[in-house]
């Protein structure tokens, strides 16, 4: 068989057209800033030429010192794609290099370098019908909040086709980020939110008061027979514990997606 010389080279144009826009650093402007809890702050950014994002994606943020030293971190996007702006909720880590600057120094009107949106694995879109199980620990709630906000902006029929059960583990009630919004969203017919507090609970607290365990996931999560899509986000030990418990309960590991948050800020 004689093969044309073009048979190998033909793939090149396909590869070229398949590449996505270059990931460029852009200077975003802070258009709003809000303290969420004692340690968590939300910065709303206007990013020039923002191509839009999918819920669950993140951006990289870069700080450059006058001597050229650079520090870079990834932060999940908290806002729904429909909102147009990019909201980042940042947990202020005392000995961090980036988060204290973002939380204490950066204010409305200031610029900060970002690139994104980034990621495609830990992403949910409202056309993905089926039960949704969102399990967050600490600031791991942030990408899950983008999913919930995206869900809240979908048509009622779409929302009904993708009912949500969220389990959110925080140290204390005051550490619960977006608490009022979550309580409001949970009043809708297709959203259920369960809080569990691991360190300290106020008098009269009706929710759980322990780390997430198998019994809790069995009681307030979807049963494995419903084949929910699971998204688990938080610190590494939290994520690995919850993901293992879900698999032990009989959930398909391929349907449990995880995103681990690091201790550097």
């Amino acid at each position: 068989m004689i093969r044309g010389a073009n048979s190998d080279t033909r793939v090149i144009p396909d590869l070229v057209t398949s590449t996505q826009p270059r990931l460029e650093w852009r200077v975003a402007t802070v258009v709003d800033a809000k303290q969420e809890t004692a340690r968590a702050y939300t910065l709303v950014l206007d990013v020039p030429q923002w191509p839009g994002h999918r819920s669950g994606q993140h951006v990289d943020v870069r700080l450059v010192a006058e001597d050229g030293y650079q520090a870079q971190r990834s932060y999940s996007i908290a806002s729904a794609p429909e909102e147009g702006t990019v909201a980042l909720t940042v947990e202020r880590l005392e000995d961090g290099e980036v988060s204290p600057y973002l939380c204490d120094v950066l204010g409305v009107g200031d610029g900060v370098e970002v690139r994104g949106p980034i990621g495609g694995y830990f992403v949910w879109e409202s056309n993905h019908a089926g039960q949704l199980l969102l399990v967050g620990g600490g600031s791991g709630i942030v990408p899950l909040m983008a999913m919930l906000r995206h869900h809240a902006r979908a048509d009622p029929a779409v929302r009904a086709s993708a009912p949500v059960r969220m389990i959110y583990s925080a140290r204390t009630r005051d550490d619960v980020i977006y608490r009022e919004e979550l309580e409001r969203l949970a009043q809708g017919p297709d959203v259920d939110v369960t809080f569990t507090l691991t360190r300290e609970a106020p008098a009269g607290w009706q929710g759980y008061r322990r780390r997430i365990d198998k019994e809790m996931l069995g009681a307030v999560g979807w049963p494995p027979s419903e084949m929910p899509r699971g998204f688990v986000c938080g610190p590494t030990p939290f994520v690995e514990s919850v993901a293992s418990l879900l698999v032990e309960l009989g959930h398909d590991p391929a349907r449990v997606r995880t995103e681990r948050f690091g201790p550097t800020g």
Binding site: S18, T19, Q20, R22, G119, G120, Y121, E259, R260, G262
Partner: protein, 93 residues
């Protein structure tokens, strides 16, 4: 710091991988050269160091992908991946 606190996942390397491969890579599927397990890159275990990044197989811990920057060079060792499937267009789930 505990080793498990240092461990993240392929999602954390998504920005760096996008620089190298010019497309979103967390949904690409990599087969481990050590045990044959196929995983989405987002599900690989990531160990970040000052020198660079190592992505390991969640099944057998083989170092599947390593990359590092040295003055003027980006170095990539993908010898732990026997087969890589990248979506051609868009970013399918």
């Amino acid at each position: 710091m505990q080793i498990e606190e240092m461990r993240l996942d392929g999602n954390a390397a998504a920005g760096a991988l996008r620089e190298i491969f010019a497309q979103e890579m967390t949904v690409a599927i990599a087969t481990c050269a050590g045990c044959g397990t196929a995983s989405k890159i987002g599900a690989l275990l990531e160990y970040g160091h000052a020198m660079g990044v190592i992505l390991r197989c969640p099944g057998c811990d083989t170092a599947m992908l390593r990359f590092t920057r040295t003055a003027g060079w980006l170095r990539l060792d993908a010898s732990g991946i026997s087969y890589l499937m990248m979506p051609e267009r868009g970013t399918p789930e």
